[in-house]
Symmetry: C2
Subunit: 348 residues, 2 copies
DNA sequence: TTTAGCACTCACTTGATAAGAGTGCTAACA
DNA sequence: TGTTAGCACTCTTATCAAGTGAGTGCTAAA
């Protein structure tokens, strides 16, 4: 059934008002505040219809009306107007997210922090899934007599390194050889292929000294690759939640913290969300604990390919227009910063 | 004035009971529960004396007694017994903190997470202050036509790297030369000296191509060093706080989150604490917001020299014995993992 | 010095009452 | 037939009074 013009107007007023006031809104207040040329009684009739259709609910008989998840969905899809981010906010965002030092982790952390500041909600971000990231080269560098640094560079421009302590001394020649052999073998393969497809074992050697070297290095190499594959979750602005009326009740606040505390599960939820700007409202979320929350996420790109996510979580009553615009603007900025330019002609 | 044996016994019973129950304890309950051979009336007299001396307080006339900060201090200094960490906990700790991959950040993060799990409090950790860390060598490595990786290795074994995008192409020879010149100039100097004492400008060059290279690299080098000097703060277990009766009141919980939310200030507080195991109770803390909290920190060492900190924050009513033991055991473990062995004979 | 007894205090609970906001229904009106 | 005014009804919230129980402080006796 279609909603009449008037019903839409009333619904929009209720949603907008409730988002800013957090108080159930009654017919009398509505007619006074929004001056829509009809009496409270008429509004009551319309409200009653809207309630039958599932757009409004009633905390108890003598309270005003509150929008349902369905109403928020309608609002987000049809009624909501585009929010223009103030110039100064835009400036702050680009300033903080544009660095010439290419440190993804740092930038993402900043992004999460900034996002929660701007929206007054709890924010989060995950680093890209690296499974399809391809290896570019591997380098072992001498540090001192018994330690070397393992450095792995991927096609997306990500560099990771670890110090490895050896039990026996090594020669520089062996180290160089190993770097070259491994690079030759693994270059262009995805990280997960290297780990799963047993490619690993190919780098063993006949030469005695080399074989000893490989032996100590192998487990370190594997665990470093595994670390690299882990998707990192950053969160910020949790304290903001306690300024929101919905979470004045300590029990509700605890539920909220529970969601976030199970980092592993929460990360999985984020990974499995579709790409692009995605809004899920209340019971649209599959996870029980999140039935009272809304989640907004958007994706950013690294090297135009790898995909990470940035978003907020909060009560279903939130500024969908504002939050959506800000998140989208931020992810665009991040993607811009990390679109690797070079890469046409490789070194070597 | 010295406390009689009996007063000490009563005080100890009150502190211990209050720590586990969080309820003010009355004379009658005390005499029944702890069976100390004297009547409630006698206990009342002693309690009254203890209150005059400042060891106990009174939420209101008809409530039981509650230990003051002074009582906790006495308890921590004299009455508290050494807590023996269960074997299984010890095992979990060493297992999680001993890695052969030397990633300090990761280990510290795990430590904070584990610590909050074991104590049910909020935990935190800061990475070592790197100011006195000395540079060991600098390496520029080619990645592709327009990007190079800058790698800095310090004496403590810390390795950091960033990808730098250049505007113009470079030659491998120039890069090698630059690596060598910079290493030669800066080796053995502390990071803060390099940044502050204007040593930076020494690495300019007469040769045209080199000079262009140096120009783009210089700001990146500086900002990388600055990043390295930043002390990182990790926190975990914030949600634990909400299971503690003291923070059932949403207002109190907010104060607590405020402390932690001002990461910069909080980091400074931690940096300025003395080394070793330090316990500050309630109003012993200089910061107003922390007057209701106790802080326990201990220091860990990297390379036997650089000092980072690990600790918990919670209400003044906490298991000082247990928490202290656990933190100390953990920092010992971390120090053990990061005592760099080699270093006698440098590479080169 | 210790203890029993007793009056007193204060927080907390329960129940009753009143006020306020809002609904739903009915009947009148355009 | 849609709109509106009026009114009874419902439900929450605030307030107040009375009763209860845990605990103290003081006094006097053992």
């Amino acid at each position: 059934m279609d909603l009449s013009e008037r019903k839409l107007k009333i619904l929009q007023a209720i949603v907008a008002d409730f988002i800013s006031s957090a108080e159930p809104i009654g017919s009398r207040t509505l007619s006074k505040k929004y001056d829509m040329g009809i009496s409270p009684a008429t509004i009551r009739n319309e409200m009653s219809d809207l309630e039958d259709m599932g757009y409004l609910t009633h905390p108890h008989t003598s309270a005003g009306r509150v929008p349902s998840d369905k109403a928020y969905r309608l609002y987000v899809n049809n009624l909501m107007q585009k929010y223009e981010i103030p110039e100064e906010d835009k400036q702050i965002i680009s300033e903080k997210l544009t660095t010439n030092v290419m440190e993804l982790e740092r930038t993402i952390k900043h992004a999460a922090s900034l996002l929660s500041d701007l929206t007054n909600l709890a924010s989060f971000a995950i680093t890209p899934n690296q499974e399809s990231n391809k290896l570019k080269h591997i380098n072992f560098l001498p540090v001192d007599k018994y330690s070397v640094v393992l450095m792995i560079v991927t096609e997306s421009g990500r560099v990771i390194n670890t110090t490895i302590k050896l039990k026996t001394a090594y020669t520089e020649e062996n180290l160089n050889l190993l770097s070259r052999v491994m690079t030759y073998n693994y270059k262009g393969k995805t990280l997960s292929d290297i780990l799963t497809l047993d490619i690993i074992k190919t780098f063993e050697s006949d030469i005695e000294a080399m074989s000893r070297l490989v032996e100590t290095i192998k487990p370190n190499f594997i665990s470093t690759l595994e670390n690299m594959l882990d998707v990192e979750l950053y969160m910020d602005g949790l304290a903001n939640i306690f300024s929101i009326p919905e979470y004045n009740d300590i029990e509700k606040a605890k539920v909220f913290l529970d969601i976030i505390n199970q980092r592993k599960q929460f990360t999985d939820v984020l990974i499995n969300r579709e790409n692009g700007v995605i809004i899920t409202i209340g019971n649209e979320n599959k996870e029980d604990l999140m039935r009272d929350c809304s989640l907004i996420t958007a994706t950013y790109h690294v090297n135009g390919k790898l995909v990470g996510k940035l978003g907020v979580i909060g009560p279903t009553r939130m500024r969908y227009d504002e939050v959506t615009s800000i998140i989208e603007y931020m992810t665009d900025n991040i993607s811009e910063t990390f679109k690797v330019t070079g890469g046409d002609k490789d070194y070597e």
